[in-house]
């Protein structure tokens, strides 16, 4: 699974990195790690707008989004 480590990054880097990952590795599931709830919401909304299915797991200090 292709991983995007967007933990601690400022807006809009997490969404930009996710966008780039979807372009380069769109055929496989992508795991995106973020720290903040608003970043999680932004990435989730963006992935859904690209027609992807998103599974979000709260891991305490961070969120894991799996985009397929």
């Amino acid at each position: 699974m292709y991983e995007v480590d967007a933990r601690g990054l400022s807006c809009p880097e997490p969404v930009m990195l996710t966008h780039a990952a979807l372009k380069s590795h769109g055929n496989e599931p992508i795991r995106v790690l973020v720290t903040e709830p608003h970043t999680k919401a932004n990435v989730e909304k963006f992935a859904k707008s690209q027609g992807k299915k998103v599974t979000v797991t709260d891991k305490g200090d961070e969120f894991e989004l799996v985009i397929e």
């Binding site: 400022s10 809009p12 880097e13 930009m16 903040e36 608003h38 919401a41 932004n42 963006f46 707008s49």
Partner: protein, 363 residues
């Protein structure tokens, strides 16, 4: 209720923010200012005597409210995250630059929108600069610009700014320690409790719907995403209605309150603000909200805004409002003096160094 669920909730959120702005203007805040982050931080700096410009000294409860509103709603909805470590001193500089650019134009992006809603054509001119600045920032982002990661730190780090602001507000209303303008924009303010309540609600809503004036343009340019722009649209519509109803709408370049028509400096001022805001991850309002929800990096950006405001008035960097001729004095064209012009050009050069330096690329 999820404020960002769909276009309707986004527009409604913006409309509520606009209603708060309208109420504050109706209750006494300066005309076409209502709620201006740059001006209000500058006024608060004056209250603390960090500068001596007598007409702009008042500790604005709105600033306290916005930070604390974001803080409280983040705590309540478990979105509070105490973070730090993402190039704080670069963010300090970006905060200073956002303030210098704003005060050359005489308003932050929020006030630019409020002035646009009142028919101030100078704000539409400044919008050109703002969009160009945001565009330049997106070029830096596409090239890999990053200020690096923030890391989770001790929870109490994020409590400091809200607590300090509350203490300052209490001191400002219970003692005579702070300066208070007797004339000019600093003397125009809504009652303290109204301003505080308005700020708290504004901060809470802005936190929940992630309102950001730079972000709204940036997301359209980068991703054709119109969510943040929808919030701004809701805000703008309410402010236009308010101005039309109360007779405050006047389509002109001249005769606008606390404004000037030096087009090139309005454009360059807001160019610096747009560019810096994208590099910093958000406009001045967004920095206050991020600081409230625990980002010590954004709290440092707030300090940069505060120090920038003090520098603007101590070293004559701010724009001067235009004024018509009276019996006693000649007309004033307004705009920044030579110090402000040099400072602004230097700020823009610094932004290019920060934004396009090979070292500031994402690891």
């Amino acid at each position: 209720m999820n404020l960002t669920e769909n276009k309707k909730t986004l527009a409604l959120s913006g409309a509520i923010l606009g209603a708060i702005g309208a109420l504050l203007a109706f209750m006494g805040n300066p005309k076409n200012m209502a709620i201006c982050i740059a001006c209000f931080i500058r006024d608060s700096a004056g209250a603390m005597k960090l500068h001596q410009a007598a007409v702009v000294q008042y500790l604005r409860p709105e600033i306290v409210g916005i930070v604390c509103g974001a803080f409280l709603i983040a705590l309540i909805t478990k979105e509070y995250r105490s973070t730090a470590g993402s190039a704080p001193m670069v963010r300090f500089i970006l905060g200073m630059i956002m303030m210098i650019g704003s005060l050359v134009f005489l308003g932050c992006p929020l006030r630019m929108l409020i002035r646009m809603s009142a028919g101030d054509l100078n704000a539409y001119v400044a919008l050109i600069g703002f969009v160009a600045g945001v565009y330049t920032g997106t070029l830096a982002l596409k090239r890999g610009f990053s200020l690096g990661r923030a890391y989770t730190v001790e929870k109490s780090s994020g409590y400091v700014l809200p607590i300090i602001l509350v203490v300052l507000l209490i001191l400002s209303v219970t003692t005579s320690l702070f300066a208070v303008s007797e004339s000019g924009p600093g003397s125009m303010h809504a009652p303290v409790l109204v301003a505080l309540a308005g700020g708290l609600l504004f901060g809470a809503i802005a936190q929940k719907c992630r309102t950001c004036f730079a972000g709204c343009i940036r997301d359209v340019l980068l991703m054709r995403n119109f969510d943040l722009l929808t919030i701004i649209g809701g805000f703008f519509v309410v402010m236009v209605i308010f101005n039309l109803v109360n007779g405050g709408f006047k389509l002109s370049f001249t005769g606008q309150p606390v404004a000037h028509a030096q087009h090139i400096w309005n454009i360059l001022g807001m160019y610096a603000v747009g560019f810096a805001a994208v590099l910093a991850g958000g406009c001045p309002l967004r920095q206050l909200v991020l600081a409230g929800q625990g980002s010590s990096d954004s709290a440092v950006t707030f300090l940069g805004l505060l120090v920038g405001a003090a520098c603007c008035h101590n070293f004559d960097l701010a724009g001067v409002a235009a004024s018509a001729a009276t019996a006693e004095k000649a007309a004033v064209a307004g705009g920044p003096g030579i110090n402000g012009q040099i400072a602004l050009i230097a700020c823009i050069i610094i932004l290019f160094v920060i934004g396009f330096s090979p070292k500031n690329k994402r690891a």
